[in-house]
Symmetry: C3
Subunit: 143 residues, 3 copies
């Protein structure tokens, strides 16, 4: 019976290992780390779009803090007066996730209701960038 | 012999699994890569502080080179004339490590004795940023 | 049963050792992500050279997009009027690889024949930066 137990445990670990190894074959997950202002946002959203065109299976999460959150506030516009909401909505429809740092909202006294509905507020932008890499298998990109 | 082979395979997978799982449970280690000057240092140190507030178990190492080393030189001050030493000392007390690139010291002819005691001089800042990720399990963040 | 225990312990340590050694022994592969213009290129190439001096076994791939591609176009010069070709050739001779984003070439209407022979054109710079990390074991560095 003891041998049977050991075998059972071993087989369970085998399954786990296979799962770990299969992670290698999975879709690529990338965190875009954004802490620069609206003047850079159009180019960054263009990068995300190009990334998805080149790799449609890519999972992309855009984490923002500091001036980086600005393009995710209601009514935010680029230098040509066009609202970012169209591009954000389009990318969100393709599975791109957007996150906004609550420390930044607090420090700058911005009400969370000003954040567009496509974005989710997280306690800390920098801690989120680290967590996604260390715990969820994301690779990093600073656009 | 077949049973032995099976056991061997199972044990190998067990080791792998344990390693995989232990990776999940470990504290997150993050390298902050800094090569911008004193005008950016206050915001960067604020990022590190926010990171630690959000994740008190986080291990953070700040690797500096080029203009990035300036806030770690004796007597360095921010734009409002406040010395960085207080903030560096506070973060160091919380376990944050600071590293300064020796190539930069040599190129700029800065004597290593000018580096604050909380920081350690390493041969190359960029090689250190790569080493921490490849050999010590750090994730990357460029503030 | 004692023999079985001993075997188990030995195999576990063997697995651990093999995994540890394989992590320690591999050369470090680093992707340098460059999307800033020629005014930053000399310092970046200097970083790559310092990196190789500190770690001669390092594998370095420089992936460029946006204004980052400019120093890899024929005849590109730095602010002092010196061509980048010498430095690019020297680093290429030491095994450094250079990649240029085809999306950028298309958007800016630059003919691929303008790209220096040391560099390879890839479909998307950002997707390449992610792929090298997720699929080829590269660590990231934004100079």
């Amino acid at each position: 019976m003891k041998l049977f137990q050991t075998l059972k445990t071993c087989l369970a670990s085998l399954c786990l290992s296979v799962l770990c190894l299969s992670a290698v074959a999975q879709d690529i997950k990338t965190v875009y780390h954004v802490n620069t202002g609206v003047e850079t946002a159009s180019a960054i959203l263009g990068n995300v779009r190009n990334h998805l065109n080149a790799d449609p299976q890519a999972k992309i999460t855009v984490v923002t803090h500091g001036p980086g959150i600005d393009f995710l506030l209601e009514g935010a516009k680029d230098s040509k007066g066009r609202e970012f909401s169209g591009m954000v909505g389009e990318l969100s429809g393709k599975g791109v996730q957007f996150r906004v740092c609550n420390n930044t909202l607090t420090t700058r006294n911005v009400d969370p209701s000003k954040v567009v509905m496509e974005a989710k507020v997280v306690p800390s932008g920098v801690a989120e960038v680290a967590r996604l890499q260390a715990k969820e298998g994301f690779v990093y990109l600073k656009p």
